[in-house]
Symmetry: C2
Subunit: 164 residues, 2 copies
């Protein structure tokens, strides 16, 4: 069974949160609603500026800024798809594709609580057609982990002051 | 194997995104960095206003606003823990605890790309002590699903214009 979590380990100077918490860092990269919606569309195969713009109803300058940022962070890659005229589009990198579990977890939670008419969009397993969810999995025993059975503590990247 | 995804299904009026996309809806509730950090701390056991404030270095009025919002959304619950003086703290609801997979997915991605010294914080399976990650799982065949094997399409909550 789960031991009690030790939240006292989290009472840290705010610089800790800013610098090494992986959630904070992820939110710095993605923590803007447009950014995540751009990533979502890119992951299902959208590549062109005009398609993003039309689909999201986003201002062109805001979209350009988010795409540039996502390329700088290595989430998307700018690719030339036409020579005459020279045209570029945007495709997810491996780092970008690895955001699928995060987006799937958002879909799973949003579907559970904010989709009274049922899920607006299905994520399906290509191989068997079954529904895909973002889930907690133990990489050691391979079982699905219920939230109440998670314990947390400082890892190797924690600062000495944290582990003390 | 995965069929090609059909991103044309995503080229929809922006109202669609606003109203029924579960990612957009989730971001409306959580899409603010402070909110997610408050949820993170609450999930590892933090309950008191002063502890959130000290840990995050967040302005009291901003913290109060985020806590009120999270209670209104049913993610946290306000609980009286002392009679004299009357004092309240904040505990996660079941809906709040179900955000663990989302936070775990953020940790997994952030650890992979933004933790050069190793993960600052470990999420462990209480039962066996193994590392827990947010992962894509097929609820039908129970296997772990690689991102490239996801297909997506409109679900029962999609609007008629979408399914057409």
């Amino acid at each position: 069974m789960a031991q009690p979590t030790r939240y006292d380990l989290l009472v840290l100077p705010r610089t800790y949160d800013r610098i090494t918490c992986s959630i904070a860092r992820t939110m710095e990269v993605l923590g803007d609603r447009w950014t995540l919606l751009v990533v979502r569309n890119a992951l299902v195969g959208m590549t062109r500026f005009d398609d993003f713009q039309q689909s999201l109803g986003i201002a062109p300058n805001v979209l350009a800024d988010r795409l540039t940022r996502l390329c700088a962070e290595g989430v998307l890659q700018r690719r030339q798809y036409s020579e005459r005229p020279v045209r570029h589009d945007y495709v997810p990198t491996e780092k970008g594709r690895e955001l699928w579990p995060l987006l799937a977890a958002m879909v799973t939670w949003g579907d559970a609580y904010y989709a009274p008419d049922g899920p607006p969009r299905l994520l399906l397993h290509g191989e068997c057609g079954g529904p895909v969810v973002g889930q907690l999995t133990c990489t050691s025993c391979r079982s699905s982990v219920p939230p109440e059975d998670i314990i947390t503590g400082p890892g190797p990247g924690a600062r000495p002051a944290v582990a003390a």
